[in-house]
Symmetry: C2
């Protein structure tokens, strides 16, 4: 049977990402493709670099979008900074710390793990202790905003510890960029990667990264070649570099970069501090409604991410069936738990263009309808009023 | 100064890629984003796999799009099949053989180079000789259609030689897929990668790959882990695999895959044999016009690619200025020479949706106008008639 054009349903995306894409972003993506060495395209690349510097709060020259998803951005940071025999302290308090460990080991380096419970932030004292045991660690790697749990770690403090021991920092900002405060230069972050599909309101597929001058120096002085040709920053710099003469490295994903460009224009127009505040305000509204319903958060308020709400599942309901009904009856996607939290929590995203009051109202109403129908032990008829009261405050 | 939305010019893309994107493809790309684990998305993934099998002429189960450009597809083939200490025979007759060598060496393997002049196909006798010298080579790697020169190598014969010596084959089909005959199963290719931005009429950024059962067995029996986490086929198979339960690996570039899906629907509707014939027919029309103008091809007709026309530059003109005027006055992009051919040739692409008679007529007319104006030594007033005569034949 012949396969025909794919027409996706129109969903509201309140999972851990991708989040709702702003219509201006999808429109930009559909503009005519031009050559990846076209002078007009090169000009647009420079604008993307400028706007990424704004988003990351950095003056780092090497601030570019990797032409692949966040996991490739992560790999880009590790393969460029680590060489065989190096040591890296890796903090794990969720799924993505484990992925960092995999990256370290595949570089022929050794990972010294600092473990914290899922749902807790990275404990700075444990990191300090790890550096005392391994003072020659080259890198400290941690996740700023753990998408698998909804916990924020104190990036500023962790970077200060690394600097005290002369180590470079690699920071996962996939879920934090655009959603909560992030200060690459002020905090002294050396290598950072993010994704387009979370708080930037953009389609998935591209990973913004930034490397400090100190990191670039380390990369330029490597003894061995970077094991990945595609991600070798020495080569990528020739294409994304400052000169007007760009060296061909790979064919850039032209239309995906149109989308990123437009999402960054949106961020500039809103103002990043306003974006952070919007994420926080909307989180409080959702929280008021969920708590009124009787649901609770697994992460303490002190380090809870506003953009990724991990909440417990009411007793007596089949959580997968709830998600399936939300999707089929309301075209609403929320996220399942990952790893040790699978089956135990839902992850409700309020990221980027998804962080809107109309989405919150839909989510609370749909959850109440489905959970009520399934006989779950929740308070009914109170969530929307609680949300509205928080919104007015 | 605030950066505003980017509105690209409308170009005609007749360089080495990206080529013109079919409007149905850009429209598909702008459809609403849905979750990468949404059942509707998983269904679309299966359709993409089916249609890629059709395009590659293979039944290989592991036939998927890598979520990154062609260079990542290349790297995916090498890092999955090679381990430190392995030997690979690499054929170089243009830019991309050199990139293959880089990939082999970054895997800790040894590259045995088979060199041919740029513009010539790979010489099977030299490959046979290389296997006689290095009978334990694990891999033979070559480029089917060299984008840097416009030469086609005899993939079928080269694969037969590799099979005689028990070696796996890695084939670069970035520019060949959809443009000229390619038979993955019949020719016994073990690993192949392509790009979306050439003869598939799609936007750049995704790399279709396919691995034979023999290659999958080699990957599963590796002694060492694949050095790239992002490209580790053992992990990617869990996401793109046959089961209905997909394991999260990375967030797929959802909208870019809508585009690929639509481009593959277009290919099925046209029929792949018809697409090959269209590329050949249009090449002959362009050729008639260019030759009437007095320009000549650097590749012999016997192994000339119809989709990538490398032609000499008329004496006495500044080739970069010609390209610049074509771009600025006619919104027409043609390609410069790469590597040893830089400054010596133009590369005129007739790939995918660019391979249309209206594009040929524009290209011949614009070239004649600009070259004539610059006083180049060409025959004027004859190109269009010659093209028309060929078209009618």
């Amino acid at each position: 049977m012949a396969i025909t054009s794919f027409n996706p349903p129109v969903r509201t995306l309140m999972g851990p990402g991708p989040s709702d894409v702003h219509p201006r972003v999808t429109s930009a993506m559909a503009r005519p493709c031009i050559g990846h060495l076209d002078p007009m395209f090169v000009g647009m690349m420079d604008e993307i670099k400028d706007m990424l510097q704004y988003a990351f709060a950095t003056k780092n020259q090497l601030t570019i979008p990797v032409s692949a998803p966040g996991s490739a951005g992560m790999e880009s940071c590790f393969v460029n900074l680590l060489e065989p025999g190096d040591k890296a302290i890796v903090c794990q308090n969720g799924v993505f710390g484990g992925r960092m460990k995999e990256n370290v080991e595949r570089c022929g380096a050794t990972a010294i793990m600092v473990e914290d419970d899922w749902g807790k932030p990275v404990d700075p004292q444990k990191v300090e202790d790890a550096f005392k045991s391994v003072p020659d660690a080259k890198v400290l790697a941690f996740v700023h905003a753990e998408t698998s749990t909804g916990a924020r770690s104190d990036a500023k403090t962790l970077c200060e510890i690394a600097q005290k021991y002369g180590a470079l920092t690699i920071v996962d900002a996939v879920t934090s960029l655009g959603g909560i405060e992030l200060q690459v230069d002020d905090w002294g972050i050396d290598a950072i990667y993010s994704g387009t599909q979370k708080c930037l309101s953009c389609t998935p597929g591209i990973s913004p990264v930034s490397f400090s001058e100190r990191a670039v120096k380390v990369i330029k002085e490597r003894h061995s070649k970077v094991q990945s040709w595609f991600l070798d920053t020495n080569l990528v710099m020739g294409y994304w570099g400052g000169s007007t003469k760009r060296a061909y490295h790979h064919t850039a994903p032209v239309n995906a970069l149109y989308a990123l460009h437009e999402s960054l224009v949106l961020l500039q127009q809103e103002g990043i501090k306003h974006a952070w505040k919007r994420h926080q305000d909307n989180h409080l509204i959702l929280r008021a409604g969920l708590e009124a319903m009787g649901m609770s958060f697994i992460v303490d308020a002190a380090y809870r991410l506003p953009q990724l709400n991990a909440v417990t599942i009411p007793a007596g309901v089949d959580e997968a069936q709830v998600r399936s009904r939300l999707l089929n009856e309301f075209n609403l996607e929320i996220g399942a738990g990952l790893g040790t939290l699978a089956g135990k929590v839902w992850r409700i995203g309020l990221m980027g263009h998804s962080s809107r009051k109309e989405n919150i109202v839909l989510c609370l109403s749909a959850l109440e309808a489905v959970l009520g129908d399934m006989g779950a032990d929740i308070n009914t008829g109170v969530a929307l009023a609680a949300a509205q009261q928080q919104s007015a405050s």
